[in-house]
Symmetry: D2
Subunit: 309 residues, 4 copies
């Protein structure tokens, strides 16, 4: 399924499952995509920053996309294709679209500074991959140290008809969503989907400010789905209730550097992944950290039975 | 009162109160320090990053220290003296100690990279201010982009007897606290106080990992005090209960750039500050953001009566 | 003398002379300004990045401005007033203008990223110091990591009538000068003076691209003056001849971190400064480096008798 | 030929030749390697930062290595294998060694900060590519913003027997070379080759401080070869004479961003490359810049007949 500007809901950022000896765990990958489809995800993103993509061999990356398409093919698959050069970006983008991916996500390289550099980069990227491939802007200054104003995002969207989505991951970013939606209302910006990141830490209010959903990772994507659904249904208090119940764990998982270890540990405890292993070089949780996560899970289970493991 | 390695508990980072026309609001400053003392703070930090220190005239900075000492003088006053040059650092440090401050806090300049550069910087700073002034290391990589390993912190502490405290604000940082405490247990590091920052977002577990308290800002420092007290008393669940109740608001306040506006807005609603004004250039909350904070306060009030405003 | 958009020629960046024990060497300061005036400098800049300004006490900074004005008062004195906060910037700017300075130079803080942030910063700075003080934009991405496009510089100039000069220190920057002059020719930009930095390493061609002169440091400012004079007189080959003769030394002096030590060493050998000392923390030349500089001076002396020391 | 710690002399950084329509210009590639061999280069580096490596398809990268080996196979070929992930680094490293390359060059990723992070990264890289592949450390803080102290470089060399060379490209860096050689003399560091970069801008003194040669790009690598040869022969003045004659052009070519355009333009004028094209996204020289380079060439030709084009 092709990604369009009508996209919404929750697109989890998929971790890549590994066995303890560092091989891709294809069985867990299949189970993971089945799981995402089963809980009602609207799509999935693979080969993202948290997907350990740079550690994968080309054939492994392709294999992962194939599995995602096979398991979730009626839902759009977004593939991270950010690369230090346009040759690799183009090659991966064209391959995965041929395999049935719905679109690609492109993050700016960390050395971009001026507005024109950022706009120019996306123009070059589109020229490289072709204007027929739907793409997602990844706006993630905390990690990428590239700062895009709403006006810059507008220029990218207006200049490139193949841009269909903003992955909004600015921090803080509530006013940015509001500004972009105001641009649309004023008629200076065509509408694209806005899905938010940052591990969902502001999803409660992002939805209220105009986001269409979440494109992020969290060990309980069910919570993201609940918040999006309740928020769209106007059930504000219920949306915040489930959000708040998960916030202590979501916050813990959002720690840079160890966040992926937390996520995989919880997903392994939930039985979604067979192992919590990362391919080298990766981080692992200390015994103290695992005990903290277990404690958070036990506390969460009082509010959300899905956390009773 | 002089700051020592025995420090512990909560040292709020004091915002600087302003009137809407940009003058220092001395009445609110007095009320603020009375308030900090009244709720049981163990000290206070003024002229920190969130204290709008660079916007103050020298006499205003001095005035603020005088007020803090006058109102809380039996508690240690920590004064932020970070400066682009050692002349200004020395001058401010010596002045405020003469006025009765308890110690100074020094953040590294953002251009430091190697271990030796960082260690060398603190040696030079101590040489500049004098080895008789107790000082606090501010370890805050998210904002300062200077990364100190536990081994570097150990070198600074061991090299400089006047170092009495680490303001731990790494993110993530739980393992760093644990490592430093292990260094102490192994005998390779003398004990200093470790108080944590980051708006308290990990205070629940930081206490369990060996922190002595919090040295950070939050519009309800009472929560920080509760968590520290309960945690020290071994009441783990109660500590997490009050922490979790505040986490949605604490997270909202921790947004970079707008966080101070949130903090001042809440402290004004609480009657602690007369105004939520920042001196220019500052940020303000939109109507949407104020409504979000009000909503969070209303939700918090169900768990903590102090939020019923 | 007030700085205007008609400025041109050479404004050396003055080092601050110190005695070996770290005191300001006022005798050398007087000699230095006499020297600058004597060789035909068109003005001078004090308290710049290479002037060790952050190491000076406020009264020392003021003292240095007073000496410069007293010795060169019929030439414009530019004073670096960059500061982490607008209070200090305003205070210093107003003081030095009252003392007879011609204008101030403002560098952007290193955390600025977007075009709007940069433009906004200069608007705030002008509001802080007052729109009656002529100011110089310092565009120095190599050290400040703030990248200003020609369009951003145009916005700052057009928005702020008190902007009279660009200190152009981009690297590379020849096309930037050409673009700005083209903006002027097209009528989209009012004319301001463009003086160039970077230790003069591209002054030969910068003049040919439209610069009005140099605002930079080099131990032989006579060379800068020669190049500007010859270039303005249309004596291209002669301008390049003297430039090329100095380039091996100018390149050596332009090394970041040790450049100031080289400059002071040469100026002390020339008898302009009594000592090559820097106030702590500073760098010093190893014996090997001093021997290299001596060798370069001896080679230079074959082409320029002023280097025969 | 395998790269060893005995390497010395000049290893030019090869640009990748393209036709104006963006295809790799294999004819020029063959001519380029013939040329490097013909002038007496001691080896060559391909797929370096200035080799436009990220723009190449994998088969193009491999093709370039094959040509270099075929043309210069009795000289060591160094291949840049820096990559965002170890999978790609390992894959490329193993492939090119099988094809006859002499060793690989590894630059650290730009986000490394602490000493331990840098040392750890090289340990992981060696584990990934295998300890049987000779490798070169690229120490290039100006572009990579990773700062390695001499002590860190020593740890990397001592920890990893397969490290055979340091590409020294710190700026400034003369004291670093001297310090490393002193470590060797003291017995705390085994000897590795030190070849220098930065476009040769300090090669004159780098040789005198203990470098073994140059591993850098410049449109007249003959000059680098002359300087290395004369310096090793103890002909100091002659070494500086030829160096100084080239310095105005070398400096012009060393401008970041446009440097490669200058280099290719000159190499095309010299008939080594058929075109000065870069694959998109690339920079081009304006007419003004080309005229400046022509002028510099004409001036250089008065001293070096090889520049009479």
């Amino acid at each position: 399924m092709r990604l369009t500007t009508q996209a919404g809901g929750v697109y989890p950022i998929a971790p890549t499952p590994f066995t303890p000896d560092g091989a891709v765990d294809w069985t867990s990958a299949d189970r993971l995509f089945d799981y995402y489809a089963g809980i009602g995800s609207d799509g999935v993103t693979v080969l993202g920053i948290m997907g350990e993509a740079p550690k994968l061999e080309p054939e492994e990356s392709i294999g992962l996309v194939k599995r995602a398409v096979a398991k979730m093919g009626d839902k759009p698959i977004i593939v991270g294709v950010s690369a230090p050069g346009f040759a690799a970006m183009r090659s991966l983008a064209r391959q995965v679209m041929d395999l049935g991916a719905g679109g690609v996500m492109i993050a700016p390289p960390t050395n971009l500074r001026t507005d024109d550099q950022i706009v120019g980069y996306y123009a070059q990227a589109v020229e490289a991959i072709g204007s027929d491939i739907p793409f997602v802007i990844q706006d993630y200054p905390l990690t990428l140290s590239v700062v895009m104003t709403p006006a810059v995002i507008r220029r990218i969207i207006q200049d490139n008809p193949s841009c269909v989505m903003l992955k909004h991951e600015d921090w803080p970013g509530l006013e940015k969503i509001a500004t972009l939606r105001r641009f649309e209302a004023e008629g200076s910006l065509r509408r694209v989907a806005i899905l938010t990141g940052n591990g969902g830490l502001f999803l409660d209010f992002e939805m209220e400010r105009g986001a269409d959903g979440a494109n992020t990772g969290y060990a309980f994507p069910e919570m993201l789905i609940d918040v999006v659904r309740l928020s769209k249904a106007g059930k504000r208090d219920e949306a915040h209730d489930i959000f708040d119940a998960h916030l202590p764990l979501a916050r813990y998982e959002q720690q840079q550097g160890v966040g992926l270890a937390v996520r995989k540990y919880v997903m392994a405890r939930r039985g979604i992944l067979a192992h919590d292993a990362q391919r080298k070089p990766g981080s692992t949780l200390t015994a103290a950290a695992r005990a903290e996560v277990d404690y958070l899970l036990a506390r969460l289970a009082r509010h959300d039975a899905r956390a009773a493991l």
